[in-house]
């Protein structure tokens, strides 16, 4: 399992950009509220990178295969 990291850039104008690395799928978005509490800040924008969709797609395929297997009994 890859190491989870958060890269935080605190700009001189006080705004913050966070990049989440090594998180899988929706765990990334779960961390938005953690960061809001950590920084006393509010998320104003978030952008999912292609890796996010890749991971979600893999997870969806796995779930579909499991459902099919159960359906076949």
């Amino acid at each position: 399992m890859s190491q989870k990291q958060i890269k935080l850039k605190i700009f001189p104008d006080g705004q913050v950009q966070a990049e989440l690395l090594g998180f899988r799928g929706k765990k990334c978005t779960d961390y938005i509220s953690v960061l809001e509490l950590l920084l006393d800040a509010e998320a104003v924008d978030s952008e999912r990178t292609p890796e996010y969709y890749l991971e979600e797609s893999v997870a969806t395929k796995v779930t579909q295969v499991q459902v099919q297997a159960i359906g076949r009994g």
């Binding site: 190491q3 989870k4 990291q5 958060i6 890269k7 935080l8 850039k9 605190i10 700009f11 001189p12 104008d13 006080g14 705004q15 913050v16 950009q17 966070a18 990049e19 989440l20 690395l21 998180f23 899988r24 799928g25 990334c28 978005t29 961390y31 938005i32 953690v34 960061l35 809001e36 509490l37 950590l38 920084l39 006393d40 800040a41 509010e42 998320a43 104003v44 924008d45 978030s46 952008e47 999912r48 990178t49 890796e51 996010y52 991971e55």
Partner: protein, 238 residues
């Protein structure tokens, strides 16, 4: 990487852009605050959208475009009621059209009376400041010798110009200028104070990360200051 997130510290409002070339915009940014009867975000958004406008969450405020993409205003929650904060330069007919549209959807009067701005003897301007402690610190660093008044407003004096920072509820501070030598001069002060305040916010955010990371199962792996003064911190999450 899976997600990139932009965060705005609650101490900071992004209402105005300071800087040498933005004086005209700052002067135009004087505001007219009109209270509404809306008490919840949902009630506000539902009715404004039904009236044909938008209502986009923007930090703790809500942003509504009023006349095309470039013209917008903010809503702020003050004492449990949402207040529409129109820029003073906004054409009155456009505001009237918006008010009529929203009130016809709601089926009753929503907006309070417009404040009488003709009797104003001093100039009031929006600021990006939300945190009183950080503002006091920034003003002290600027050498403005601020004093905190009993009503929570902050008064300081720079070269015989009195600057009064006051706020309603949790909304960002408004600046009232009395005996200003000229708006250009006041604007130069404000640009410098705005820079100092933002630096204070940057430092405060950095200190919070250092103090709080461990309690959230995070450890600071590395930190550095980039050439543009941006602080880059890498946290390892266990």
């Amino acid at each position: 990487m899976s997600v990139s997130i932009a965060l705005l510290p609650v101490a900071l409002a992004i209402r105005i852009v300071m800087g040498k070339e933005n004086f005209e915009n700052w002067v135009k940014a004087q505001q007219v605050r009109v209270p509404s009867t809306f008490t919840t975000e949902l009630e506000l958004a539902r009715n404004v959208i039904k009236a044909g406008y938008d209502a986009v969450k923007f930090g703790s405020s809500i942003k509504t475009h009023i006349d095309g993409e470039k013209s917008f205003f903010f809503w702020e929650l003050v004492d449990g009621k949402w207040v529409a904060i129109f820029p003073k330069y906004q054409e009155q007919a456009v505001i009237d059209r918006f008010i009529v549209s929203v009130e016809s959807i709601v089926g009753q009067k929503v907006f309070g009376a417009f404040p009488d701005t003709t009797a104003q003897v001093s100039a009031q301007f929006p600021t990006n400041f939300r945190d009183g402690d950080l503002l006091m610190k920034a003003l002290r660093e600027f050498g403005a010798q601020p004093s905190l008044r009993t009503n929570g407003s902050i008064l300081c004096k720079i070269e015989n110009t009195a600057l009064l920072f006051s706020r309603l509820g949790d909304s960002p501070y408004m600046l009232e200028v009395k005996n200003g030598p000229s708006l250009e001069q006041v604007y130069r002060y404000m640009s410098d104070i705005d820079d100092d305040y933002k630096r204070c916010v940057q430092t405060a955010v950095y200190e919070k990360i250092k103090a709080r990371a461990a309690a959230r199962d995070m450890a600071v792996e590395s930190e550095e200051v980039l050439p543009d003064k941006t602080i880059l911190i890498t946290l390892r999450v266990s």
